[in-house]
């Protein structure tokens, strides 16, 4: 306060300052004196200081409690509003970006899932064709009893071809041999004992049971046609029973044949 710094009150206040008989008095003495022997003149100062303390406390309180915006200046409020709308804009942009990312991820996932299910179907079909997995489904069971031993490899091959022609998807003989593309039929001529029935190196025993999965009616009809398998069987006075079944279990499998020489042609 300039008015305090300048000695505009030249005469000493003896009552406040203490005994006037001490000509040189330090500020500290004066303060101690004022605290020890307060005078009436301090009352006014006390009132002022009380006002100051009161308003300071109130201000601190209201600042602590100021969670809302009353009392702010108009320009500050405008600034706050601008900041808020900018933040909202940013948040909206973020939302848009994230939604785009989400939808692209979703479509990505869908197409991946579609590709995976396609590939799985293909793998299943190929596995059944290659005979590497057990298969089940509707089909027929042909039981051939040949007491006179007249059934040869030719008739059997004929039966297999007719079944394949009729759309058999999986074929099994005697619950032991799975018939696939690589299946080889042998009548034992190479080994010097013709007349046997050897399928994939496994000699078949009677009765011959051929199980095939496919449309049962179509398969049965294919065997029954004129000059077909059943007629051939009858000619050699053997018996063949064809049963159409709702469910045929083909349990035997083949090892996965890895091609040693053939490689797929990359086709673009």
């Amino acid at each position: 306060m300039p008015e305090h710094e300048q000695p505009d009150q030249p005469e000493r206040d003896d009552t406040v300052a203490g005994a006037g008989d001490q000509p040189v008095e330090t500020g500290r003495d004066r303060l101690v004196q004022a605290i020890r022997k307060p005078t009436r003149r301090q009352v006014g100062v006390a009132v002022i200081l009380a006002i100051l303390g009161f308003s300071a406390a109130v201000q601190v309180r209201s600042t602590e409690a100021a969670t809302t915006y009353p009392g702010m200046r108009q320009e500050d409020l405008v600034q706050v509003l601008n900041n808020l709308s900018a933040a909202a804009q940013r948040a909206e942009n973020d939302i848009n970006q994230l939604e785009q990312a989400q939808s692209s991820l979703l479509s990505n996932r869908d197409s991946r899932a579609a590709a995976i299910s396609r590939a799985r179907e293909q793998a299943d079909a190929l596995a059944i064709l290659a005979g590497t997995v057990p298969a089940t489904g509707p089909g027929i069971r042909v039981t051939v009893t040949d007491e006179s031993g007249q059934i040869k490899i030719d008739q059997l091959l004929n039966a297999l071809q007719e079944l394949r022609d009729a759309g058999a998807e999986a074929i099994e003989i005697n619950d032991a041999v799975r018939v696939v593309a690589q299946t080889a039929l042998d009548d034992g001529t190479a080994a010097g004992e013709p007349g046997r029935i050897i399928v994939d190196g496994q000699e078949l025993a009677q009765p011959y049971v051929i199980e095939a999965i496919g449309n049962p009616q179509t398969l049965a009809t294919a065997l029954e046609i004129f000059g077909g398998f059943l007629e051939q069987v009858e000619q050699v006075s053997a018996r063949a029973v064809v049963k159409e079944l709702d469910e045929v279990e083909i349990a035997s499998v083949r090892e996965i044949a890895t091609s040693e020489y053939a490689t797929p042609v990359e086709d673009e």
Partner: protein, 110 residues
Amino acid sequence: MIAALGLLIGLLAGLLLQPEVPLWLEPYLPIAVVAALDAVFGALRAFLDGIFDDKVFVVSFTSNVLIAALIVYLGDQLGVGGQLSTGVIVVLGIRIFSNVAAIRRHLFHA
């Protein structure tokens, strides 16, 4: 002693009563408090210098508070209220520091 008691009573009253600050006063109260603090430190310095007078103190206190509030009010009307209150706070802060430095020299001779 009475002065210190007055300050204490004022603080306690403010803390206990917790009055609502009227809306029109809210921008000016902080400035007024800082201006009042400046007046109080000036008064303490003058007291230590031996030139204290309570009438001068009351007048300077009142005028300090009023002028500070007036400046801020004027700034608000002119559209530079924020900057002007900052300016007032800076000026008052400088004065408080120099007054406290003088007080410190008196009390601690350092």
